[in-house]
Amino acid sequence: MTKPPLRAALALAATAALLAGCGTTTDEASRDEHVKYAWVVLGDGGKPIARVATDYATCPNINVDDGETRMLLRAAAGSAAQRTTASAAADSKPSSFPLNTCEAALPTNAKLARVGTKFLPLPKAEPQRVLVLADTGCRLKKADNAFQSCNDAEMWPLAQIAATAAAMKPDLVLHIGDYHYRENACPADIAGCKDSPWGYGWDTWEADLFKPAEPLLAAAPWIVVRGNHEECARAGQGWFRLLDTGPYSAARSCDSPANDDAANYSAPYAVPVGGDTQVIVFDSAKAGKAALPLTDPQFIAYQKDFKTVATLAAKAKTTSLFVNHHPILGYAPIAGSAPAGGNAALLSVAAQVNPSAYYPPGIALALHGHVHDFQAINFSSNHPATFVSGNGGDNLDVALPDPFPANLPPAPGVTLDRITHSVTFGFMVMDRAGTGWTFKAYTRAGKLMATCTQSLNRIACDKVGFLAG
């Protein structure tokens, strides 16, 4: 059973005694054997949404500060007809979701929320610690001949990372996308991934995220960002059922490719992190590799989104952190060549909406995943310092060069000051430090690798260049 927060312990006493007295809830739908997982995501404005995955036909009750209501059905169990996927048809299958996803909006100031005996993590008014990770799944991809040993915690470290990070007692978790990597079947001759679920259904989502990350799901509410692995032709169906913070509908389910042109995009929204900071969540799931023509529908969609970001970032007296999956002012390492810069599609739009600045005024920092490494980048030009925290579980990338080449900006008009980077498995922690934040890079085992302090849109790290794991 998940432990309740200490501050709520006294308030819980009566409830706990009642539960102990009768052993379990009397509501069959709320019994623990039906409620497989319970978690909390933060949506637009930081509104907390409780979610459960249940095998019971009826949604369970949720007890919030001693008031009990029945959760609402978000996505009914079911299996849509097989759609086109990123894999060949022979290596695809219909996505089966045998569990109902239920949800309930929570009051922002709720002190306690419980489903059955599972206590849900609730947002704090002034979060002090935010755990940041991305690219966490276990790669099973036939086209790559890549079959990561998902059954071996040494080779796929998400469970260790989740346990290490949960022990640091974060107040929030920020996952920057790519939760799901098990796209194709593990060949029968490979014990390292033998019997792994595959495809885009619930069993794969459970194996790639919910089970190994359970300690982190119990530790804190999550801010969820969509990665390219969650675009509609990949794990988009699970994304909308389980994680997306907007309303669920057929049009926004990724069940039919006919809706992909809309469902591969989401309007940006802001999640407050205390009174002085906000995370602006940007969906770049479908961003390609090439710069976009002005008339391209994708250009137009992202153009609208960047304008929304400008509106959100204009909030007074607020440090705005721009968060999306693909690095914009970050780097992609290439063996035997100079690193590539940021995502060309997003840069082409950002440069048009915010010429030379790329980001609108008000954006202090940018956080990304996608590249499977850690990067902390400070610019001497007036651009937001950038972090990449994509070393959460999938196979790692090669390292960025050290020393880093001179005069190699991630985008035209940007001047690199210093970069700190690593390619060991791990995660990042943001700790509140006065009016700003301190960013710490950790290995999978919790070894501190680097600490970066923030001042407005700059960071200063205590180490520079490549960090060995």
């Binding site: 060949a88 086209a143 790692l396 060995a468």
Partner: protein, 406 residues
């Protein structure tokens, strides 16, 4: 240097179903080839190929067979009596330009292709026979050593065909390929290529009988040092060898453990100054870029210095290591990865990094993959004991016929 992205931009559509584009004349495929094998070659053809492989009449002058360099006693590698890192050819004093690779497991090498994972910034090449990937299959391969003046030195394929007509296995070739198979040069060379392909597909040439294979099957044990070496070999923070020398010790299919991804890498090995060719300061073996140029890849220069990642099966039985045979011990080869840029003076004359490449191509050398991403002054990713452990593990990759010879 032109960006790799340029390669993708210039790709043009192709017709074959799994070919998504062509880069020059090389296909870019939608997926990497699956695991090759097992092969079931015709025993008769494999036997003919074996005869041809050992046929010393096929050189000019006679006396040098394929097996002279790909010597069975050396796990089908070796340098034909040369001690400087590259093989002697059929003529006294003339040497080939590259260290002889083992002919074992050749059948598993896919044809040259490009592949781009959706997360990768650009397509990258894989496969092809020879260290520069220039031949797609064994029938295409055989003509190269036969005609190379520094190897078997035949003046023409006609001359080779004539020798095949007079070979003791000529009747066998006619039985397999028809009575007129040797009537034309093209027919004779094709027959030779097909028999050689069958031989290279035979169990003799892919035995999968190493202690490693037995260990995977639970029929052998590793010493603590070998086990440590295995872990270091895999660990992305330490040896990280498996990032290119791919294998899967959890698979019951040994072909998933070829200890290569068939990709290309520029690792900047030191110049082998024992090679006569290097007396010419302008001589450089630049590897893949010759193939890139021949195949009309855009900006072929970006591939200068790249060589195909070899299989490490039987690596401990080699006479010399690296494409130019510069290293005389396996331990040096492993230590080079760990300390290449940290102690350049240990590996390069006057500490001049990547001195076996023209200066303009030294930027192609991979400085990104661990452990050779370290710079001078840093701690190496592997200490001496760890290097020894990896070498111990690599010795487990020797197939049974050569187990006592490493």
């Amino acid at each position: 240097m032109a960006s790799l992205a340029l390669v993708a931009m210039l790709a043009v559509p192709a017709s074959a179903q799994d070919v998504v584009a062509r880069i020059g004349t090389t296909p870019q495929r939608a997926a990497m080839p699956g695991v090759a094998g097992p092969f079931n070659p015709s025993p008769a053809r494999a036997a003919l190929g074996r005869q041809a492989f050992f046929d010393a009449r096929l050189s000019e002058p006679a006396g040098t067979s394929c097996a002279s360099c790909h010597h069975p006693a050396k796990a089908f590698s070796g340098n034909h009596g040369s001690r400087i890192g590259v093989p002697l050819g059929s003529r006294p004093g003339l040497l080939g330009v590259r260290n002889t690779p083992s002919a074992l497991y050749t059948a598993y090498v896919p044809p040259l292709l490009f592949y781009q994972d959706d997360d990768a910034p650009a397509p990258t090449p894989f496969g092809g026979l020879f260290a520069d990937g220039r031949a797609d299959d064994v029938p295409a391969l055989v003509r190269h050593p036969l005609l190379d003046p520094n190897e078997m030195h035949n003046r023409s394929l006609d001359a080779v065909a004539a020798k095949l007509c007079g070979a003791p296995y000529a009747d066998g070739l006619k039985r397999e390929f028809g009575p007129k198979a040797l009537d034309t040069t093209a027919g004779a060379i094709a027959a030779l290529g097909k028999t050689m392909e069958s031989f290279l597909q035979s169990r003799e040439m892919a035995p999968f009988s190493s202690r490693y294979d037995a260990w995977v099957q639970g029929k052998a044990t590793f010493s603590p040092q070998e086990l440590r070496g295995l872990k270091l070999f895999k660990n992305p923070d330490k040896g990280n060898c498996a990032s290119c020398h791919k294998f899967n010790e959890t698979s019951s299919n040994p072909a998933r453990s070829m200890f290569t991804d068939y990709g290309f890498d520029a690792i900047g090995v030191p110049r082998n100054r024992a090679l006569p060719a290097t007396r010419d300061a302008k001589y450089f073996d630049t590897g893949l870029c010759a193939t890139a140029s021949a195949n009309k890849w855009p900006d072929s220069g970006q591939w200068c210095g790249y060589f195909r990642t070899p299989s490490l099966r039987n690596v401990a039985v080699r006479e010399r290591w690296m494409h130019n045979g510069v290293f005389t011990t396996l331990r040096d080869a492993v230590a080079f990865y760990a300390t290449r840029s940290i102690e350049p003076e240990r590996w390069y004359r006057k500490g001049e990094l990547f001195d076996d490449l023209p200066e303009r191509y030294r930027g192609n050398v991979n400085a990104a993959t661990l452990p050779y991403n370290r710079r001078k002054g840093m701690q190496p990713a592997l200490d001496d004991d760890e290097i020894d452990a990896i070498v111990a593990f690599l010795r487990t990759l020797t197939d049974a016929p050569w187990a006592g010879r490493q």
